[in-house]
């Protein structure tokens, strides 16, 4: 794989890395080496800064000295202007890494008296290039020549020659140009510089401005064709390669607790996946921020870093409010594990927000990012753009293995689920909070709408905010729907009363049976007793009878003895009787 990549790089046009954050990514390595590049755009869009940074980075990071030929600002102005961005031009000049040359043209001083050329400018530039061995050149803004020199024909011919000359010199040159009405530049410089054209734009949309960069043309190289937002801040210029780099991010099987045990239980008892995207949506005041705060607190307790973007509350307000439900956030802020980033969504455009998010995430390197809430952007921009921006944020965070939690406010008028259609497909775990109005009460209900890659509970739980955090209760689900709050309590009471009655019933039945058993047993024992007494009576009678039989026999013998009849005689008699018969 590496070998193939290497070959591709080899075959590509040689490029000169700008060192500008993100720009080298979208151009596949930077600007075309040894060619003139046109950077055009309206006033105040950052042309000069782009050019300066190209030179400074070249001098400091790539050991390519540069020449800055300014037709507008003086050297002192230029040095003073960029020092706030951390560029010390004076030092670079001393170290022979940079040459500043201010070309001053005063129309009133000049008198044209015939044919001329700009050879002197060439010599001047050539001398500056040779004096430090420059590889990079900036001409800012060469169109000023048109204001100073009246003869356009000469000027155009000379500019054509200049760009040719720069190419022959082998320097990578940035030429800046003011944007024209119908053309890219006022004087049609794009006609001469045709290798690479970069357009900077500073657009105001709904009162918020966004800076954007677009590569109009780049001969001999593939490049991103989109408009990329860029940022100018204390670290200079940064372009955001915001288009998705493909859905190739590594996924984790690790789980992170939501900070609410009952919610973890709804998600297989383990919580969210690390690196997944979680959306908590619901109507106003249902406790979205509380869930986010729980998550943040749990992460801080594990020693992870949390970056919390709040777009509606100030950090202090947030800390105070969360304290009321028993979540202490301040100590984590002090420990440096939790960082708040509070801005109004209307402060700048979506892309700028994206850029700020990028920068903040790159600087803080959090494990968890919370955006609370995301739908405030709707005020400032269109839904399509928001989706694009969120997709970029999601992609970016996923690629960095950061777990993201977004909260979103849904208006109660529209359907809870459809209003999120814009972003729902980007979300891995979606927790829906809703208020349930019943019997003069408003209660909170919560359920897991979806959770990719896990067996989640399908139950609606009642969601309670207590002084020790969020609690989830099993909501009563009966014939009349979901019952919550006092209705649930009443229902529970009713149920327990019913249970009591049933219990009593059973006990009563048990007692009856016991009684029956007792009666039966008594009967059995009485019969038994009767039988026993009868039995003993019968035995006695039998004994008496037997005694009588014995006595009769005795009596017979005694009688015979008394009549002196011996037994033989008797026997004879008995025998005779037998024969007669």
């Amino acid at each position: 794989m590496k070998k193939i990549e290497h070959e591709i790089i080899k075959r590509q046009l040689p490029k000169s890395a700008t060192g500008i954050q993100g720009f080298d990514e979208i151009t596949g390595g930077g600007l075309p080496k040894g060619r003139p590049i046109l950077v055009c755009g309206g006033a105040g869009c950052g042309k000069t800064l782009f050019a300066i940074e190209f030179l400074v980075r070249g001098a400091t990071e790539f050991n390519e000295p540069g020449v800055f030929m300014s037709f507008e600002e003086t050297n002192d102005e230029l040095i003073a202007n960029v020092i706030s961005l951390g560029f010390d031009l004076e030092d670079l000049i001393k170290r022979k890494k940079l040459v500043l040359d201010h070309v001053h043209i005063e129309r009133s001083e000049i008198e044209e008296t015939g044919e001329y050329d700009l050879e002197a400018l060439f010599i001047r530039l050539g001398y500056a290039i040779d004096s430090i061995g420059a590889k990079r050149v900036v001409l800012d803004t060469i169109e000023s020549l048109f204001a100073g020199l009246p003869n356009q024909l000469i000027l155009r011919a000379e500019l054509r020659r200049l760009f040719r000359w720069l190419k022959d010199k082998g320097v990578t040159a940035i030429i800046t140009g003011e944007r024209g009405d119908s053309k890219l530049t006022r004087q049609g410089l794009e006609e001469y510089v045709s290798d690479c054209v970069i357009m900077l734009d500073h657009r105001v949309n709904e009162q918020t401005s966004t800076r954007r960069l677009r590569i109009v043309k780049y001969r001999g190289s593939i490049h991103g064709t989109n408009e990329y937002p860029f940022l100018i801040d204390e670290n200079g210029f940064s372009v955001l390669p915001v288009t998705s780099l493909g859905l190739k991010h590594v996924v984790s099987n690790e789980r992170v607790s939501s900070g609410i045990t009952a919610l973890d239980n709804m998600l297989e008892g383990k919580g969210y996946y690390r690196g997944s995207t979680i959306l908590v949506s619901g109507t106003a005041g249902v406790g979205k921020t509380s869930i986010a705060a729980h998550f943040a607190e749990a992460a801080c307790k594990r020693g992870e870093r949390v970056l919390y973007f709040c777009f509606e509350e100030s950090p202090n307000q947030m800390i105070r409010n969360m304290l009321s439900i028993g979540i202490e956030l301040e100590k984590w802020v002090k420990k440096g594990l939790l960082q708040f980033h509070a801005t109004r969504p209307t402060l700048y455009g979506l892309e700028m927000h994206l850029a700020v998010t990028h920068k903040a995430v790159n600087a803080f390197k959090p494990d968890i990012v919370i955006l609370d809430p995301i739908n405030t952007f709707v005020i400032s921009d269109k839904e399509v753009e928001i989706k694009a921006m969120l997709m970029r944020i999601v992609d970016f965070l996923k690629a960095s293995q950061i777990t993201a939690l977004f909260t979103s406010l849904t208006s109660s008028e529209s359907s809870l689920e459809s209003s999120e259609a814009g972003i729902s497909s980007l979300i891995d775990t979606w927790i829906l909070l809703r208020d349930i109005e019943l019997s003069g009460e408003r209660n909170r209900g919560m359920y897991v709408l979806k959770s990719r890659g896990m067996a989640n509970s399908n139950q609606i739980r009642e969601f309670l905010l207590t002084d020790h955090g969020v609690e989830l209760r099993e909501a009563y689900i009966g014939l009349e729907g979901v019952l919550t709050g006092s209705a649930r309590i009443a229902q529970e009471a009713k149920e327990s009363a019913e249970l009591l009655i049933r219990k009593r019933d059973i006990e009563r039945k048990k007692r009856e049976i016991e009684q029956k058993r007792n009666a039966l047993e008594a009967q059995i024992s009485a019969l038994h007793f009767e039988f026993e007494s009868e039995e003993s009576e019968a035995i006695k009678m039998i004994e008496i009878e037997q005694d009588q039989i014995k006595r009769l026999k005795k009596d017979k013998v005694q009688m015979a003895e008394s009549r002196h009849v011996n037994s033989d005689f008797i026997d004879n008699i008995n025998l005779k009787k037998k024969n007669n018969l």
């Binding site: 040359d101 070309v103 001053h104 043209i105 001083e109 000049i110 008198e111 044209e112 008296t113 015939g114 044919e115 001329y116 050329d117 700009l118 050879e119 002197a120 400018l121 010599i123 001047r124 050539g126 001398y127 500056a128 020549l145 020199l149």
Partner: protein, 116 residues
């Protein structure tokens, strides 16, 4: 000219010499050329002619070849070639081109009045 000055009460005195005729001033001129191209040669020829005609004996002309002294281009803010710089008398002027338009050269050197 003198009447005009008398009428304007708050006329700054240092402007006076620049407005007055340069008929006696000494001219300090510097001509920047780029090698011996035909344009350079033409410019030099034309200039010498004009100087001899109008500034005889009171001008100082320095001719610089930028190819040999490229560092000088930055100091005098030279971009076009040939360029003639009128250092003195004030005001500072640059006259570019091959000097073939005599009218304009004289205008640049503040010598038009005399010519008339």
């Amino acid at each position: 000219m003198k009447d005009k000055i008398a009428k304007v009460k708050t006329w700054p005195k240092d402007i006076d010499p620049t407005l007055s005729s340069h008929s006696n001033d000494k001219y300090v001129l510097r001509l920047y050329l780029t090698g011996s191209t035909c344009r350079s040669v033409l410019a030099l020829k034309n200039l010498e002619q004009i100087c001899e005609e109008y500034l005889e004996g009171r001008y100082e002309l320095e001719v610089i070849d930028l190819y040999q002294n490229p560092s000088l281009a930055k100091g005098d803010q030279i971009i076009a070639a040939p360029t003639l710089i009128k250092k003195l008398p004030l005001p500072f002027r640059r006259i570019i081109g091959d000097m073939s338009n005599k009218e304009k050269v004289l205008l640049g050197l503040d010598l038009r009045d005399i010519h008339k």
